[in-house]
Symmetry: C2
Subunit: 370 residues, 2 copies
């Protein structure tokens, strides 16, 4: 008989009350997720993949709205670096998002209407708590590994800090243990762009036109931070849309303008503006050291989790220095850790792109003790 908890397009209703860092609690939480592969008899082969800010649970299967391949299909699958022939891979939509997990667009059971801005403000640790509840639901006590890039890496670190006994290994890619002033500043621009859109209406737009223009601007600003100056120059330079000459107008004259506009507009088809507010807030609040008296090492002292960190030399959103600070803290905590800075012209987004070296590091790290 098939266990309906496993497979594609799953949704779990977790009814144990979820206590949140902000002091509120959610009496029940829905978490949408996908699993790939088969859980072994002693439930020891599970790998949790955590997605980034605007990512989703469709890591290795097509996105139901866009029809596009899974966002890490290159890395996750049979015989791939994260091998679903030998592992059960789980990827869950984070708490606060809009792809089937509880978030501001969800109906508040108390009123039958969308939470909107009445949804409680959450943290990365709250996202991780919801994932832990999902693992309980799936009968998985301990993860062979937790893996993530960008905000996914923040969750992986937070998993190791919060549930050290449940994580054998944590793989943290292009990420950080805290949001810098510049990180917060870029997110604040995005939030202000959304809130400046009259269609936002204090978040109460679910029965009307959404604040698509504001959300598109937010996405455009963020998107620049995902790329590198060199990568943008290589991809677009100053090339014009029209082959011949400048228009001396305000249409998208340069290819990079047209590209950015497309990134902004297409994003609004698949993402909820309020979720963008909540998830960026969660990222801004992240400071794992702060939760441990200001010492990042203290967050990991005595851990038996193995760590691997990967950074990219052209990533200026979460630059190598952020990964190095984590490595130093893990060293001080006596945790086993390996670290590699990879070379790529593609900036922060490199972890989502063809990166054979990254694939080898991932496969090697997950293969230890297999």
């Amino acid at each position: 008989m098939t266990d309906t908890r496993f497979g594609l397009n799953r949704q779990a209703r977790l009814t144990g009350s979820l206590m949140l860092d902000g002091g509120a609690s959610l009496p029940e939480v829905e978490i949408a997720y996908e699993t790939y592969g088969v859980l072994d008899a002693d439930a020891s082969n599970a790998i949790l993949i955590c997605h980034a800010l605007t990512g989703d649970q469709h890591v290795a299967s097509p996105h139901p709205r866009t029809g596009k391949p899974g966002w890490w299909q290159r890395v996750v699958g049979p015989g791939k670096p994260i091998d679903t022939d030998t592992h059960l891979v789980i990827c869950a939509n984070v708490l606060g998002s809009c792809m089937g997990s509880s978030g501001p667009a969800s109906l508040d059971p108390a009123t039958g209407r969308p939470f909107a801005m009445r949804f409680p403000v959450i943290t990365i640790r709250d996202m991780v708590r919801a994932q832990a509840a999902l693992l309980d639901h799936l009968g998985i006590q301990r993860l062979k590994a937790v893996v993530g890039g960008s905000m996914g890496g923040m969750q992986a670190l937070q998993w190791a800090a919060t549930y050290p006994d449940r994580v054998a290994a944590a793989l943290v890619i292009a990420s950080s243990a805290r949001h810098s002033a510049q990180n917060i500043a870029f997110h604040e621009v995005g939030r202000q762009a959304i809130m400046a859109d009259p269609n936002w209406r204090g978040g109460e737009y679910y029965d009307a036109a959404p604040p698509a223009a504001g959300l598109a601007v937010a996405r455009m600003a963020a998107h620049i931070t995902y790329l590198s100056e060199a990568g943008l120059t290589e991809k677009f330079g100053r090339r014009l849309q029209a082959r011949d000459a400048k228009s001396f107008g305000f249409d998208a004259d340069f290819q990079v303008e047209s590209y950015l506009r497309h990134q902004g507009i297409s994003f609004t088809d698949r993402f909820d503006a309020n979720s963008y507010l909540y998830i960026t807030r969660a990222m801004d609040y992240l400071d794992i050291a702060e939760e441990h008296g200001g010492s990042l090492a203290a967050a990991f002292r005595g851990t038996s989790t193995r760590f691997c960190l990967i950074s990219f030399d052209s990533d200026w959103l979460y630059p190598t220095a952020e990964s190095r600070a984590i490595v130093h803290a893990l060293n001080a905590a006596g945790a086993p850790v390996s670290f590699v800075e990879l070379s790529s012209p593609f900036g922060h987004d490199a972890f989502l792109l063809e990166q054979p070296e990254m694939d080898r590091v991932i496969a090697g790290f997950l293969g230890v003790g297999a």
Copy 2:
């Protein structure tokens, strides 16, 4: 008898038709400007200072709207690095701006209504042409120096390329000879933020509420690029507004958020949104090499202008590599050029701040041949 062409709060009506790079022409142009010091008998001691994107002509005298000191009062004045005891210093509001020079907010003589988006798209070279017409009006054939930071540096370079016989020396600070894909991308975010504001109304807002919310978002995004990651960390880090704890809400929790919001909102009191569109467009169009068959050296071949370039090591908007590329081209053109990269934690905005080393370089460069 006083020559009313010189002094503070001057405005010149230049009635010779101004031909523009885009093919249009303006039958007459108003240019608001200030002068400091006295022009000598042979009109040989004039220094033109060019301002940045959102700057103005009030370089060394209080801003009439905000009451704040001139934006480079530290550098320009009696006995200062740009010495008004011995020089006539001129600073003119650029064409397209909104502090008294012709721009989209100006009345179109043909209709009696504001130009709005019927104002022709302009270039940095058009700004320089208008300044040259102003110098004609002032009876100044040749500048002892043209000086500018950021977009002001672009004008200084463009002056030397367009009117080599009229510029004895050009001082280019924290600038570039062309806008990169990343530069264009950030400007495009700002333009889209303005145009997404329903109050923008295709630019026809002069008898109604202006698109202040969109302009504030544009300013916030741009402002981040004027600072460095290290500077933001030093100034704000993750410090909270309230002393005690996070609010778990969407008010400005972090000091950097509150600071950015203030930067955005206060900007809208002093700047016209359409001018922001036009001036960012002019900057994006800048590519001095392109105007000379793709060779930056060709733009300066045979020049007798002396050059000095200054960059700041933490400036990621116009990084040192951009200045270095200009220096290489000037070397190839056989032009006399000096170059210094200064160390500062303050990013692009360093040129506006206390920089004793920059002051010494400026004074030294302007003092040669004095």
